[in-house]
Symmetry: C2
Subunit: 582 residues, 2 copies
């Protein structure tokens, strides 16, 4: 037996007990005739004591043990003279009588501490050492807990977890599939699923009624800051439900997770339509932890000779509290911020609402103090506040204002990581027009149901059709999203038509789903949560990477195992493949 | 709201309640002025009643509804006149007042009944309809329960479920990997994991202490009867454990599953060494539900002039109880059975132990009654029993006798699906020699630890080294297997040497693991269960396919979605790939 107890559990109540512990050496220090070793495992840290006077050989042996060596010790629990209030085992220590070195360790390339000296690259290369650090491992423990509590909650409510296949067919719509050549079917390829969408709908046709799966999904996309080529979804689907049933159930799940894992009681989630979210926050995933909402002031700016505003479709302002004292440098920073190519505004107009009731703006040439006062009034600006104004095409400008709003939220420290504001955004547009291609695309996916009252608009004004689609947004992050699906094969055909699919193409890509719908598909709908983001949110992380055990970098590489990599010609030959050298 | 109750829950206690139900039409029949419809959902079947005298229009409408249509009804629960004792809702029926057709259905290509008229091929093509059948869906429900109970059990014991990556590097050893071309890294490939083996060992190096994962694994193998290209493992690993710790824990898990899911108390698992299993059963996964053990009789057959036996390394018998009366035809069938190429015996010798105490055998020419009596005695044969004898090279003949033993078990109906005999097979050989290549291969995998007392033999007699490896066997099926791993990098290097890896090749393929071992790897070991087989065993299925929602056929095809398939040239171009036409 390697151990009788773990390194995290001994207390004063265990005094005089003889125990065996095993773990890693965190620290080794000599003080007078004593050697103290901190031994660590997943459960905690315990102090070991070797006394030269009692056992000189053992003490000498202990003195030679380096950091991260793996040791096994036998000893007696004794009360500590200098108690350590920072760790749960801080009241005791072990007087060691036997010591066995289970494995040695080279000096690690970075320190295994919460605050490490290792940079990102070296820690990813030695991820197995990075994972030894408590701060990293605890994210994975949280992930385990969230997944387990999700399963428990859904199991309690009659959901069945069904594994859908990972080797499926390629559907060229949307993001790129990873493909997998089939050796047994030369020239043919599987694809890895971007989501289990079609299979979960088939399971509804099969009468499974309530399905879920914590499923790996794959997208061969260019990886932006916080994307991974493989990611995990909590994927759910229910039959005989309306939107309200879905929202109620997954709102409860989310509350359950906040309660059981973070001990927080979250109030009922507000609902906000997509239209309202865009108008008030310039975003379909608004961060509602703070105000600074968008205010349209176009009508107040008209006809004063300022061509930039007059010719703009939209003029909008946000009011940053107590920022009238911003310096020229700070204002220039904000201007640079909105002019960055990722945001793309042409310029930024400001209005300082000074403490003395006067106004100072970058457009004083065109607008009187009285004009500016009207703007300030509509924005509920107080003396000392700062108005920031952008103009241009409506939706684009709203999105730019959203970015500026979030930036101000950061600067004013209004985005508290320990505060959680949850809401549902509903009534998304069904379609999105690609103006360049003059073609409509499904905003969510082609199986999303239009709102029944909007179906007639499919023929006359497709862009105005709203969908029975919804997103769960927490602190400005889209944590989950879903929709009621089309279950009527005629409506589905209509939808494909609007999306510009020929009948042949629809049949080729989604034929098996459309066939399935001919045999009694029930009304159904569902939702998927992004587990990686959900965990990151709970852990207060800046990147999903930190809650993934073995993540890939921005080039899709796992630098620890060095994958992807070249393979042997023999393997390619077996697959009837050649690499083309362009 | 689509329903207030499900089709499986109404009882006499719900009398007079007004309910809304939704589901599929299982049956529709007219009797006099009444129309009866059985409506089905996942939870059960409820009888609906439409009475011509009360509502002629509704009754007429109901009469037109076909099988598998999806309907929603409102009505009142009433006591049935003719009660149906076979279903839980059999005491009530619904007097329908409102009927809404939610979806129609074409006539399904086979009947949605427990006993269907659909053949295998058509059911796989319309798998979404096959999954509507209770017998199929209940296998998936069982799978959900087993996976969930496994998670609950392991979570209770401090195991963390950690997701390891699906896009990893290719390791050419062993079975073939599926590979995935990387678009962002042209000419390079990911591979899909055959198991999370290396990652779970890395997690032990990381101090995760107790890991598990219910993980999809992939093997591009030629698919024998009961293999799938993607399959699911319950994958586990523990640190600071010896073999006994692992066996104890996973024996408890298995007992827990039998108890909670099947209500069965399974006694402690017997242990049997590999050597004993081969000797007594000719198999490393013996079906111990019945006797008919192998008995070596070589010494008793020697020197009587029967060259076939005299020249054989091994002569072994099994005793089939009460089969002395087998006809010539039956004996010929058994001879044909053992001579099939899959088994490959040259012939079969029998000895009838007749009721009158006399013996009759196919080798009467060489052996006296007294000789045969000695054989019978060693086999504990009684009057009326039948000895079946094979000879040849030891291990091969034992395996042939094993097949014959299982065949006799089937014929004598000794392999009761409702009886469960569990055992551990231990002390597997570490290595297996490929005589043709004159090379040793790892029997389990190259990370398996030799028994400490056998390490010295690695230099002198590698084939004799036993491993700390174990299999869990239930009813002749290997349900799980694992080992204590090597945690010492020198021993691991030695092992690679014995397996004929050059240092470069070992470094190339397993470098990251060997590197990790330099930083304090703890002693560790684990095990993996085949979830598909485990569920099949619990469900009494003949094939794992029946407990997989969307399985592939023997050519690795999903005939429902028609995958794999050709992809567009554009996709290949993006991946820098060409299909070579041989």
């Amino acid at each position: 037996m390697y151990r009788t107890r773990t390194c995290g559990e001994l207390r004063l109540s265990d005094l005089d007990e003889t125990v065996i512990l095993a773990g890693w050496v965190q620290k080794n220090r000599k003080m007078g005739g004593m050697t103290f070793i901190d031994i660590r495992d997943r459960y905690g840290i315990t102090q070991l004591v070797f006394n030269q006077e009692i056992n000189a050989t053992l003490c000498e042996q202990a003195g030679k043990i380096g950091r991260e060596w793996v040791v096994q010790v036998t000893g007696v629990v004794q009360e500590r003279y200098n108690k350590n209030g920072h760790i749960p085992t801080g009241e005791i220590e072990i007087i060691v009588s036997e010591l066995k070195i289970l494995n040695m360790s080279e000096v690690p390339p970075f320190t295994i501490e919460d605050e490490t000296d290792g940079g990102d690259d070296i820690r990813m290369k030695y991820r197995y050492l990075d994972l030894r650090r408590n701060v990293v491992r605890s994210n994975l423990e949280l992930r385990h807990k969230m997944a387990f509590e999700t399963r428990r909650f859904l199991d309690d409510r009659g959901f069945l977890e069904v594994e859908t296949p990972v080797l499926i067919g390629s559907t060229p719509e949307g993001a790129r599939d990873f493909i997998v050549p089939s050796r047994m079917n030369p020239g043919e390829f599987y694809a890895l699923p971007q989501s289990p969408q079609l299979f979960k709908q088939l399971l509804m046709v099969s009468g499974f009624d309530r399905y879920f799966q914590i499923a790996k999904c794959f997208r061969d996309e260019d990886l932006r800051a916080d994307r991974q080529p493989e990611f995990t979804q909590i994927d759910c689907e229910m039959s005989f439900v309306e939107q309200e049933d879905v929202l109620q159930l997954f709102e409860s799940l989310t509350k359950h997770l906040f309660k059981t894992i973070k001990g927080l009681d979250i109030p009922d989630f507000p609902r906000m339509t997509y239209a309202e979210a865009m108008k008030r926050y310039g975003s379909d995933k608004p961060d509602t932890r703070f105000g600074i909402e968008l205010v349209e002031i176009k009508d107040l700016t008209l006809g004063k000779g300022f061509e930039v505003f007059d010719s703009a479709e939209y003029v909008g302002a946000i009011c940053a509290g107590s920022c009238a004292s911003y310096t020229r440098k700070q204002l220039d920073e904000l201007t640079d911020f909105v002019k960055r190519p990722q945001i793309g505004a042409k310029g930024l107009v400001y209005v300082r609402c000074d403490m003395d009731g006067s106004f100072k703006s970058s457009v004083d040439k065109f607008y009187s103090s009285e004009d500016l006062k009207c703007w300030a009034k509509r924005c509920y600006a107080k003396h000392g506040d700062l108005l920031l104004i952008l103009c241009g095409e409506t939706e684009r400008t709203q999105k730019q204002l959203c970015e500026l709003r979030l930036e101000m939220g950061n600067r004013l420290e209004l985005r508290n990581k320990n505060k959680y504001n949850c809401l549902w955004v509903t009534d998304f547009p069904l379609l999105e027009k690609d103006e360049a291609l003059n073609r409509f695309f499904a905003k969510h996916h082609p199986f999303t149901s239009p709102k029944p009252e909007d179906i007639a608009l499919l023929d006359t004004d497709p862009g105005a059709v709203r969908a029975d689609a919804y997103d769960m947004v927490i602190n400005g992050v889209e944590i989950g999203g879903g929709s009621i699906r089309i279950h009527d094969s005629k409506l589905q055909q209509k939808m494909f038509q609007v999306l510009g699919f020929t009948e042949e193409k629809a049949q080729l890509q989604f034929g098996f789903l459309m066939n399935a719908f001919r045999y009694g598909a029930p009304p159904h709908g569902g939702l998927a949560f992004g587990l990686d983001r959900f965990v990151s949110l709970f852990a207060g992380l800046d990147s999903i990477r930190d809650c993934i055990a073995f993540p890939k970098n921005n080039s899709g590489r796992d630098v620890m195992i060095d994958a992807p990599s070249a393979i042997e010609q023999e393997q390619l030959d077996e697959l009837n493949l050649q690499i083309s050298h362009a």
